[in-house]
């Protein structure tokens, strides 16, 4: 009997105009979203290749002080299915001794929280949510009330059939109607992915896409039950559809939007100006310490600061060749003090940044928790997690992978004792270091016997340095030395939540949806058993 009713419902639904319209909508919107997102992915991939080529150059250095690893995260291929926050946050990160890794460059200066979910990225899952949830409601809002209005329910129940069987039959019938549509959407998307030459999914990625299917079914089951419940609560289909649409709008537009706004209001984040002001104080404090130390060792070591070839920057980079021994010794001792201090102050700055990040984190978590009131957002959160475009994946990247890599990088430098080594700023072997006097004597071909003589002559001749070009000293140009061999340098490994991890994390949300579905089914059952068919 249940089967008869289910088949009737299925067949009847297939023959309706709403099915044809819905199916055509899917046929149009799903390829549209896939084409747009594939194009987007292709562009991201192109950008990634350019950035990756640039970052490779960041490892082509001669001294350790020039080493500034840059990490570019490849675009997430699964973002074709569910974009999540992948479109909001940047994917290029620089590892610096003086900076605690917080997030990508472009974000530290922004006021808005880019980790909050964007509402309308028209990806596959969003289209699915929009169209098929509406589809589910449109097939159920009049399942009982419509049949009551047309009189067929009375005719059906004039037969020896249990009401619960009619209800189950209707439920199965609607599920049978929606199931092929959902499967069609997934197969179509899989076909698009397979035909796109630039996208290649691993087995794990296909598994993640496959896991989206049961999650979608649970999600649409909820909307089916909402429609059925309203259909059994009201005698008129008009009242039922109005309420269904109201719930749909609340679920899709209002709750996620409200959750973001409420989270922003309830969890205040310090302004980036405040954060920057705090950092400026720390930078001044650090600068003073460095300056004091520098003055003290200048007094003690009396370096002449002579170098033949050199480069440097405020970010700790310095590279010398052909410098006097006293200059080299001063630089080595100076770096031995300065670089650990910069790391220490990076940690101190990091406290403020971490607080800021924690506030953003709290904001996102609150917004996500509030948004769980909407089944649409539950689906969105789970699909984003499966597609690695959710907040947790991002958080894992920033808080763990990048932070750990920075620690590994610092550990690598410390392990090599490069801060107290000449190699930090020069490739010239210490055995070839010469005194200033000796350099002047050799380079001037004996024109000057001491640096003092040369300095005096230079003052009289308007700073002319040309006498030192007479006799070149080999190995005193930066470019005389090869690039550093960095094969032992730690490599960056990006962690992302594993499939079992995502399932464990999402299980509560899915169980919540199923729980709500059971409650809705029970209410629908009670309403239908008591439904006045007259």
């Amino acid at each position: 009997m249940i089967l008869q009713i289910a088949i009737k419902e299925f067949y009847n639904n297939l023959l309706t105009a709403r099915f044809s319209i819905g199916f055509i909508m899917c046929l149009f919107l799903i390829p549209f979203s896939l084409v747009v997102n594939l194009k987007d992915y292709r562009e991201q991939l192109k950008g990634y290749e350019i950035e990756r080529a640039k970052t490779e150059k960041s490892y082509q250095v001669r001294v350790y002080s020039a080493l500034r690893p840059e990490i570019v995260r490849p675009p997430e291929p699964l973002s074709i299915f569910s974009k999540g926050i992948s479109g909001n946050a940047e994917n290029k990160f620089k590892i610096r001794l003086e900076t605690w890794v917080s997030t990508a460059d472009g974000y530290e200066t922004g006021r808005e929280n880019p980790l909050l979910m964007s509402l309308f990225s028209m990806d596959f899952c969003t289209i699915l949510v929009f169209v098929l949830s509406l589809f589910a409601l449109l097939f159920t809002y009049d399942a009982c009330s419509g049949e009551r209005e047309s009189g067929t329910l009375k005719l059906v129940l004039s037969n020896p059939v249990h009401r619960w069987k009619v209800l189950i039959g209707k439920l199965i019938g609607v599920c049978l109607t929606l199931l092929p549509v959902i499967m069609f959407c997934y197969l179509l998307s899989a076909l698009f992915v397979l035909l796109a030459p630039e996208v290649s999914f691993s087995a794990g990625e296909w598994l993640r896409v496959a896991l989206l299917i049961p999650v979608s079914l649970v999600f649409f089951g909820l909307f089916i039950l909402i429609g059925l419940l309203f259909s059994c609560c009201f005698r008129s289909s008009a009242a039922s559809i109005v309420l269904c649409l109201f719930v749909w709008v609340i679920s899709i537009f209002i709750i996620p939007n409200l959750a973001n706004s409420l989270a922003k209001s309830l969890v205040a984040t310090p302004s980036t100006e405040e954060l920057r002001a705090g950092n400026v104080l720390l930078i001044r404090e650090m600068g003073k310490k460095i300056n004091d130390y520098s003055q003290s060792i200048i007094k003690q070591m009396k370096p002449d600061f002579f170098y033949w070839d050199g480069k440097g920057g405020e970010d700790g980079y310095m590279e010398f060749a052909g410098a006097s021994r006293s200059t080299m010794d001063f630089r080595r001792q100076f770096n031995e003090f300065r670089e650990p201090l910069r790391i220490e102050y990076a940690e101190k700055k990091g406290v403020g940044q971490k607080e800021y990040m924690d506030q953003l984190d709290a904001q996102v978590k609150l917004a996500n928790r509030l948004a769980l009131l909407s089944p649409t957002d539950v689906f969105r959160q789970v699909s984003n997690a499966l597609c690695r475009t959710d907040y947790d994946t991002r958080h894992l990247l920033i808080s763990e992978s990048l932070q750990r890599y920075r620690d590994d990088f610092i550990g690598y430098l410390k392990g090599k004792k490069v801060f107290s080594s000449y190699e930090y700023f020069t490739r010239q072997p210490p055995g070839t270091f010469m005194d200033y006097d000796e350099i002047v004597r050799v380079r001037s071909g004996g024109q000057f016997n001491s640096a003092a003589e040369f300095i005096k002559w230079r003052k009289e001749h308007g700073g002319d340095r040309s006498p030192l070009n007479k006799v070149p000293i080999p190995g005193t140009a930066i470019t005389d030395y090869p690039l550093l061999e960095l094969t032992d340098m730690p490599t960056f490994e990006c962690q992302s939540p594993s499939i079992p991890g995502v399932l464990r994390q999402s299980m509560g949300k899915i169980a919540g949806l199923i729980g709500v579905e059971l409650v809705l089914f029970f209410l629908t059952f009670v309403c239908f058993v008591r439904y006045d068919v007259r």
Binding site: M1, L15, K154, L155, V156, P160
Partner: protein, 239 residues
């Protein structure tokens, strides 16, 4: 056989829709219940179909109390409504197939449905036509075919000729007569005095939930049924 014993229904809002109705419709008998809108005719049918619970009294179908054993009782009754809508996207045959299976006749074949449809006078071209393209008269014929296929000994008809043109109504009446000849007990609520006069074995007039008049065929053929009905209705208005 259909029996109402002191059947009473008072709705939650206090309206007394049916007041101690007692009647019996025997095999091979057509009982027509006349009455104004709101007199309690449809309430009686709803009580027989267990769509509502009686406040007191009993509705029996073949001796089975519909409140106590509704599913068992429904095996012995078929129902034809005022406006048979059925499933518009299905053909006549598909509608019959669905309701036949619900009514406990799962083994009928296409030809069997065609035969039943021929019997009630549906044109051949309509057999595989979608019901949404049917006229009301044709839909009513499909409705009565559903009742015929169920082969229940009792049939409840709620204003079945309402809105039908004279030809369609006459054809419909003919079908009902043949069902009576097969021994079906039929309880028909109607406003259509002329059809009642033409068809009924007994006629009852209902006013404000009470059966105020009961006449056998011989009795109402002697009286002018229309005048009797109008007199009762007039009393209702005056009263």
């Amino acid at each position: 056989m259909l029996q109402a014993i002191d059947l009473t229904k008072r709705y939650e809002d206090g309206v007394l829709a049916l007041d101690f109705l007692t009647l019996t419709v025997k095999e091979g008998e057509i009982f027509c219940l006349l009455g104004a809108n709101g007199a309690g005719k449809t309430t009686t049918i709803n009580l027989f179909l267990n769509f509502i619970d009686p406040t007191s009294g009993q509705a029996l179908i073949n001796g089975i109390d519909v409140t106590k054993e509704p599913l068992k009782a429904k095996k012995y009754v078929a129902y034809v409504s005022e406006n048979v809508m059925l499933y518009g996207n299905f053909t006549a045959r598909q509608n019959l197939d669905f309701f036949a299976k619900l009514g406990g006749c799962p083994d009928l074949k296409k030809e069997d449905y065609y035969m039943y449809m021929r019997k009630v006078g549906l044109p051949e071209r309509a057999f595989e036509m979608r019901l949404k393209n049917f006229s009301k008269g044709m839909r009513q014929k499909v409705g009565i075919t559903i009742a015929i296929i169920k082969n229940a000994p009792n049939i409840l008809l709620d204003e079945p000729t309402s809105g039908l043109d004279p030809k369609a109504a006459a054809e419909f009446i003919k079908v009902l007569s043949s069902l009576r000849d097969q021994g079906k007990a039929m309880f028909m609520c109607t406003h259509d005095i002329f059809r009642a006069k033409e068809l009924a074995d007994r006629v009852g007039i209902m006013k404000e939930g009470r059966l105020v008049m009961l006449r056998t065929r011989e009795e109402f053929l002697e009286d002018d049924l229309e005048k009797v009905y109008l007199d009762y209705m007039q009393e209702a208005v005056v009263g």
